[in-house]
Symmetry: C2
Subunit: 244 residues, 2 copies
């Protein structure tokens, strides 16, 4: 019985953005657990069980991982991007807290990955090159008023911003409210970048002003980056200078 549990980030999509320590963990695993679309990225091999599951069952998935590791399996829970940024690491710790005390003694570690906002920023230039906030715009797990409150404070502090999960079919209108708030408080000329399917063959990077931005520019595969008052274009890139 020498099971272990690794929570690993696969990066945003490109295999070239996976770290070597994550590749090594996947090579040694007996079980890989994650959202089915991410598990589909892992090649099948003898001795490896792939457990793909639906979206929105994060806690079930986390408990399965802990249970298998406690039974002596070598388990990798995978997230897209970085597991610690709006992804599986917190879900595993929540499940650990709710589970038997012995789960806390498991051999367990978190391996970081390239999170979507940093891959998106790199593809656009360096829009997060100065102080910034990362905000999840989904109200599945928090009230929408808190989201607006945080965006308002980020504007007051002249932070650049990265929005995860800006828009989904079940919440088509809220992102429009966020854009309205930004236009009122930052002005029409502030730059905003829509980065879709970053690092995949479908990648699309589009930087526009808030005046030109519309909610339809974002979907479930889009990261949204909002510049600070100093963010500007240079050639085909957008960047935030280091000084304020």
């Amino acid at each position: 019985m020498s099971g272990w549990l690794v929570i690993a980030g696969l990066g945003p999509g490109a295999e070239g953005m996976v770290t070597r320590e994550v590749q090594a963990a996947l090579r040694d695993a007996t079980d890989v657990i994650g959202y089915a679309a991410y598990v589909a990225r892992i090649p099948a091999r003898d001795g490896l069980v792939l457990h793909g599951s639906d979206n929105r069952v994060e806690l079930d998935r986390a408990a399965l991982a802990l249970r298998l590791a406690a039974e002596g399996r070598r388990v990798v829970v995978i997230s897209s991007g970085d597991p610690g940024v709006f992804a599986m690491a917190s879900a595993v710790f929540e499940a650990m807290e709710a589970g038997p005390a012995e789960w806390q003694a498991l051999d367990m570690s978190v391996l970081p990955g390239i999170t979507a906002m940093l891959a998106a920023a790199a593809a656009a230039g360096a829009p997060l090159g100065h102080d910034f906030c990362a905000i999840n715009l989904s109200d599945n797990l928090k009230p929408f008023d808190l989201i607006l409150h945080r965006v308002r404070l980020a504007v007051q502090g002249d932070f650049a911003m990265a929005f995860y999960n800006p828009r989904s079919n079940s919440r088509p209108h809220q992102f429009g409210q966020v854009l309205d708030l930004l236009r009122q408080s930052c002005g029409a000329d502030r730059l905003i970048t829509f980065a879709r399917a970053v690092s995949t063959p479908e990648q699309q990077i589009r930087t526009v002003t808030l005046a030109e931005a519309s909610p339809e520019m974002a979907d479930m595969r889009t990261m949204v980056l909002v510049g600070s008052s100093l963010t500007r274009r240079i050639g085909r890139f957008v960047y935030t200078p280091r000084s304020a």
Copy 2:
């Protein structure tokens, strides 16, 4: 003359945290440019010129990189962590803006890396598992009052926080002021993690309450992570739950 310029992130220190696309760029380079301590991580080989330079000459370094690429060299500018987070990418765009227009037409890209705050968070558990801010505490390039203003707003929004460059020999007292502000506004029980030399053999991770925290717990190699009001311990880990 088919030069190019890649701005690449080496991650926080461990070779296992370097991505494959960054390794590939380094393999194809004729010139590697960066702060001497980071250039020392690149193995010498025939046909590769290593340009190590002092800290605080970022713009000179950036201009050299652009000039060499314009001359047809294959240049990699390296940063520790991610080049887009308080690192070389913005410096290169600043130098591009100040330089000849032809530099804007160069074949150029930014390759993301594992930034220190995410490696530190992974080593500690998942303290950045919900909305968070990244703030550079160095006042080399901005007024210290702006730093305090941003920390205050981050507290108001109940963001988790990641502080880069919390303390140096030239600014020994300001981090103490930030800790005082946090204690006054977040209370004595708020968790704070000091992550030193993350992913290297000297790694030290220490989570304490604000009551227990002292400025001496941070130095130039330390990332500081401050929890939100919901951040808590589970076993030897610290994490922020996904719900607010």
